[in-house]
Amino acid sequence: MQNRFLPYLLTLPSLFLAAVVIFWPVWDLIQISTHEVSRFGQLRDFNDFANFAALAADPDFTAALWRTGQWTVMVVGGALLLSIPVAMILNTDFYGRGIARVIIMLPWAVSLTMTAVVWRWALSGESGMLNSALIGLGLIDHNIQWLASAETAFPMQVLIGILVTVPFTTTIFLGGLSSIPDDLYEAAALEGATPLQQFREITFPLLKPFINIAIVLNTIYVFNSFPIIWVMTQGGPANSTDILVTHLYKLAFRIGKLGEASAVSLVMFAILLVFTMIYVRLAMREQRT
């Protein structure tokens, strides 16, 4: 009998921790988002989901929601596409591999905010490094105002997002690659498989669980990523580079609509929860078959 309860007993401490760290704030958010709330967070009356209705009617929110989707797909997708070859190169044995690995990992060691600040300077129209480099190379003949409009600002933000996501993703893939035994490749080579066939038939299938975990974790990080967009454009000009987190921040701390901001936060939580559940389900089913 004792044995049957033991597992539950043993998971109790971590369940308790999770409750304090996760469930309690979520409960608080639900409270705030369904009530009328003062400028400083004092709860008033229940307000029939007026905060959610206000969101649905707000074109800035729907635009930010759509943009968050684009942002997440492009950054996560770009980082994955870039990380697989990088990890495969770093997994081969070559002179100076240690240094190469350190260089790839370096962006990870720098705080995201600092990276964004440096890029903001680099992309400055009149005194930015990128413009002077491009002019020096003869690629452009006048300064580009990178951050002046969303057409140039948002793609640059996506590129920087990819750049800072690559180190983590590469680390996951390196772990995956080192778990593939070398004799598989030796056998394949003996049978006359080309490198491309080896990749398609051995590397990719065996890497799949790692790709799955990279997709789930990166999606959660990138979806919630605040510093790059905030530091470079604050979601502007005219909210044209806003994603949900920056929109939420403005709602809460600029304008003081804590109720609506909590509602945005819950929507984000729900989206990520649903995504993670569906994805984990799909990935697991695939593995079982």
Partner: protein, 410 residues
Amino acid sequence: MSLAKWTVGLMAGMSMLAIAAQADAGEVRVTVAEYSAKTAPYFADVKKEFEAANPGISVKFEVVPWDVLLQKLTTDITAGTNADLSIIGTRWLIDFVQQDVAEPLDGYIKPDFKDRFIDTFLSPSIMDGKTYGLPIAASARAMYYNKELFEKAGIAKPPATWTELQEDARKIKALGSGTFGFGLQGKEIETDVYYYYAMWSQGTEILNKDGTSGLSTPGALEAAKLYKSMIDEGLTEPGVTSNNREDVQNLFKQGKVGMMITAPFLSNQIKDEAPNLKYGVAAIPAGPTGARGTYGVTDSIIMFKNSKNKDEAWKLLDFLFTTEQRAKFTQGEGFLPVNKEEAKMDYYVNNADLAAFTALLPDARFAPVIPGWEEVAQITSDAMQKIYLGGDPEAGLKDAAAKANTVLKK
């Protein structure tokens, strides 16, 4: 770490908590905004001097960057862990008063204390006849111009009207070599204010007399068209919407911009960073009818209603608003004097830059004291950014006025 060590550590931690709780009795906590690199050292000195003069009271200053000040206050107040005193933007004061978190100071203010202040700066902190804050920082805006560029372009004196400003900007643009006539701010804090300078000169106010938004008036449209035409003609720096106030100030310091409107602290920055720049400070240009307006700003220091050390906190306020302390703070930060005695000091009387600012004070407008002001400002900034990016001024302003009016009606 062994269990015994953990226990020792835990107990040490708990005893420290106990000590901290005891120290609370005579401790005054103050949240202050970090205006510049000089802010924290100034308040460190205040702590030393004040504690030496008032044994038994200890002071703790929390220096917070401006950008996150409102966020910190919101979270602190929500959690009930706010300090005893805090610096806030005076335009936020109405929220603090309506939510009943600010303590009226009238009980402490003696007539001679009140008499220390210049009325223009104290009055924004008075609401419903009660004084809720004391102006710790005051500022206004005026136009900086680059004398060297003016000379090269053959311009004798700074422009008195916006039409003259446009002509001067054309002449400066004609100099070529990466110089821009007029520095126009189009990003982040005070993007809306930069537009108001042109709007006020058209005789339009932020709020109409009936309390609705002034953005749908013909004057507002004229002002937006003026800026847009200057952008289209290339009289401003390129990429207006990527330049915040600091970016435009940096262009000015580099000698690339002929004219810009900003606060007195730019003089201090130029002294430190570009001492060879020849510049002057002039009034903000007037409109066709001679109307003009500058933006007046004060930050207030307020006492929280839930403070447990109100008497000690007041002693600190009294100390902060002595002429000597005021002069030290104001001159370090490059603000305007709020204290009458202080304003008579040689430093201010003989300072041509500051004289230009104080001369504009009769034309100063403060942010309207209405709930939801931050949202109206945000709506205006967004509308301006759209127009600066090439949007239609008339449609943009109409849309913004409608949005602002829904906020104002609440």
